[in-house]
Symmetry: D2
Subunit: 292 residues, 4 copies
């Protein structure tokens, strides 16, 4: 089938390649003309036969919104827009309504896979009406991993991004789990070769996983991670997961701890710990460290 694909960056470019390998036609647009197949969204829409499917793979927020705004003008009733970016699930219903007013369908799709997706396939979680999903299905089948799993129609519009958001929340806490264990092994002197312990865990243990395999790869490149700063970004989904949990009064202690650890990692100096130091000094005369 034919697909219009908007956004050909790290993710989108590899997705175009995987879809083409599956025998489909992809017309790709990107603001960067070196990456693009066409020069504008108009040209992209013009090259596709109705009913069209256009997959939007651009950053969440303004870039996604302005793309959907333009597609709402260009597409026709019966066409379908897929938002495969990292939009917050609360945006999806709004986008669906905006497009439905023009008779255009909408499907939201959370995509996992990172730099490994081209070879291994992308895990896909999508939400929307069955008739809209059906129009995109061949593309989902091309993108997903080859095994029996890896894609799911998670529910109505928004369900795809919601499921992907929770996936990322879980990912935060799993990464934190390995990271805490690794730091403790490195800090204690009982274990002489922490990397070999991690390596051994890849089979037979309860904690074997793909993330563990990646941890071993990372340690093979830099045994004690001495090249790195302990500085971790967060991408939005972790924050939204905690906010969704608060909305539903669901306690998420491990996921939230993982998010806060990232916040702390980005602070040069911790304001709250200054207050702790100041209070200790006030009541106990405990020495404080002055800034240099």
């Amino acid at each position: 089938m034919e697909l219009g694909l908007v956004g050909l960056g790290k993710m989108g470019g590899n997705m175009r390649e995987r879809i083409r390998r599956a025998g489909h036609t992809v017309v790709g647009y990107d603001r960067n003309p070196d990456l693009a197949d066409v020069h504008s969204l108009e040209e992209l829409v013009g090259k596709l036969s109705a009913p069209r499917v256009v997959w939007v793979m651009v950053p969440a927020g303004e870039p996604t919104q302005s793309t959907i705004d333009r597609l709402a003008e260009l597409l026709e009733p019966g066409d379908v827009v897929v938002d495969g970016g990292n939009s917050r699930w609360t945006d999806d219903e709004r986008h669906a309504e905006q497009l439905a007013a023009k008779g255009i369908g909408f499907v939201d799709c959370g995509v996992s896979g990172g730099v490994w997706g081209l070879e291994n396939g992308y895990a896909l979680m999508y939400g929307g009406d069955p008739e809209n999903v059906a129009k995109v299905q061949p593309i989902f089948d091309a993108l997903k991993p080859e095994g029996p799993y890896g894609s799911v129609h998670a529910g109505r519009v928004g369900a795809g991004h919601f499921a992907k958001m929770v996936h990322n929340g879980i990912e935060y806490a799993m990464m934190q789990a390995y990271a805490e264990g690794w730091e403790l092994l490195e800090a204690a002197d009982a274990v002489t070769d922490v990397r070999e312990v991690f390596r051994s865990w890849q089979e037979g243990t309860v904690i074997r996983s793909w993330l563990l395999d990646l941890a071993v790869k990372a340690l093979d490149e830099d045994e004690h991670l001495e090249q790195l700063r302990g500085y971790a970004q967060d991408s939005g989904e972790g924050r939204w997961t905690v906010e969704a949990a608060i909305d539903h009064a669901v306690p998420l202690p491990a996921i939230t701890a993982s998010l806060f650890a990232r916040f702390s990692s980005r602070q040069e100096d911790s304001p709250q710990m200054k207050m702790i130091a100041a209070l200790r000094n006030q009541f106990g005369g405990h020495a404080v460290e002055k800034k240099k």
Copy 2:
């Protein structure tokens, strides 16, 4: 080779079977005569040729201590005792010294694998002097999974149990990660079929793992886990992990949150939340729920 194996319960029994399948001779002792090959530790020791290897697979604490005490009397210089139970790593050095005084070697070994070990192999983390480890190596090779990973000589005496302890700490936080994500998906109504989302995650995602596979199995048996109470034991290693972290001033927020969640799950009613309710009532006149 020949192995003496003390403790033939759920773990020990399956381990005997796996070692025998690898062609070794196992003389097993258990307090339960229905499980045992011999009637006493004396008889077990008498049936083995020197240098003997005796693997102790009984509960940590008194059962392990009394077994080691008795083996210290029965074994000869050059023999080796392996503690494969869930002993705290801080016990290992003491046991090693106790046995060394008789010329007997000691190796500690953390074993992971649960009910799946018989078929898949057991992940092994062991600590001790190389010459003692060498005497046990054929047994380690029989027990471990078939692939290149799954066993490690983690360091000196105690390193095996330390590595296994941290493994379990990581396991706590990974389980908590999936559990938190599952609860949030069930609480929100965005996703209509939570089990299918979990199932789909088994391929292509960042969070694919053996524990995730088990979660899907559990949901296939009871889609909303309605048969279960939200009640989780903890086995010691989680507590020891947090204590080791405190000793080394290593922050473990996610692992500790996971341990505390288990503590809370076992409380019929939370004393600390009674105090919260009492304080709210005192300052705000907020209604409290009286016990019935």
Copy 3:
């Protein structure tokens, strides 16, 4: 001066009394005619001389919104509306704009004091333009405690509710601190009379506070809090505090833990702990507790 006061419940009724004791005239309206001085907002506005000050003390959300909507119709340029309820600070700017369109001023005010406010005074945190604040100042002075502290012009519109929100977040963690300590003292058997320990802490310690005094009062009424269920509501401000922190990438581990503890306290059975139990059963054959 004259004040219109809308909402004469537990808080509003006592505030009317305290303002009257200070010599001001209060015209109070409540949906409950037994509490009210007038029968409608129209009548309330009619009884006040311009420039009027009307203090809204009704629940956040729809009740506050509909009151402000009606006051926007009834009041005149130069009048001022004070929102003293528990509105989210993000509502304040919207309310200010809505009223400004009619030339009416707006001040938001967070109020602390609960059932003790009538006697001790209410702590007040308010936000808004200085000229609007100035019109309300005599009322603030009547409500606040007698000492030098207890009220603050915290900044522009929204600052009052923001400061009050953070106050409540701090309150959550302080209550949790005492509650955790109390539970530990009760659980351990080292201390024979936990209540007397709490009582003694009221002087000379680092942790003496008004909340501690209240804890002692609560324990005097019910030494082991046996009459209460460990069940704690949360009122919105705790959640908003965490959400504001997420917006600013500020880690709030203790406040968030306190909020989550309240969420957990309200669950009959913990879904996430069912998943933990299910996973333990899957990999280890660990017994689970079935629901009865």
Copy 4:
């Protein structure tokens, strides 16, 4: 009465002064002869009439142990030793037994008050047999604050240090509560003068406390705490509190979060966050920050 006081540092020196002001005789010994009244423990014991009371106010661990060892040699049946230092409660029973073997009594006493104790009095929590406590009572009465509270006989030997340990655990979480709130107020721009908000909270609020008063003092000295590094020591009691909670399966999420925040504050760079960064780079190609 007469008291022997061992250890005349920041705490002990002020305590000597307060006891003398109450009319008692204090014979003080310190390794530093500039501080001491006598030159040795022998001389100290020799100057006291039986039954003697000797208060040990030296650092926990070896210094306390060696002092008690020496006093066990020098004192006579009927004398009493008080350990007023920061010993772990688990040391107390051992010390009591050691001294009881010589007929010497033992009382443990947790002391709070810091640099303010000389003027305000010291909060005291003590444990031991009533007849031993009775011999020390005049000293307790001299040290404690003047009001009705501030000292408690908490139970048998060990109860004093246990109660003080929990006091400090609560203190950690209370300090963290204010610190988190302060950081959030500083990070958001809603509140223009954070210090004035803190100042106002000193009356009428739910969160008023002595620690809050100290926070205001600290902010008056350095409004944004710009002179300080966000670096906080911990003194042992926080760690022991968490360990005691683990022993009793009591969840302490807020206190533990506060302890871990201090651990993190002392790390130049976070090892666990390096692992998070490494994993994000592995699966997503996310940029990492290299160490310079």
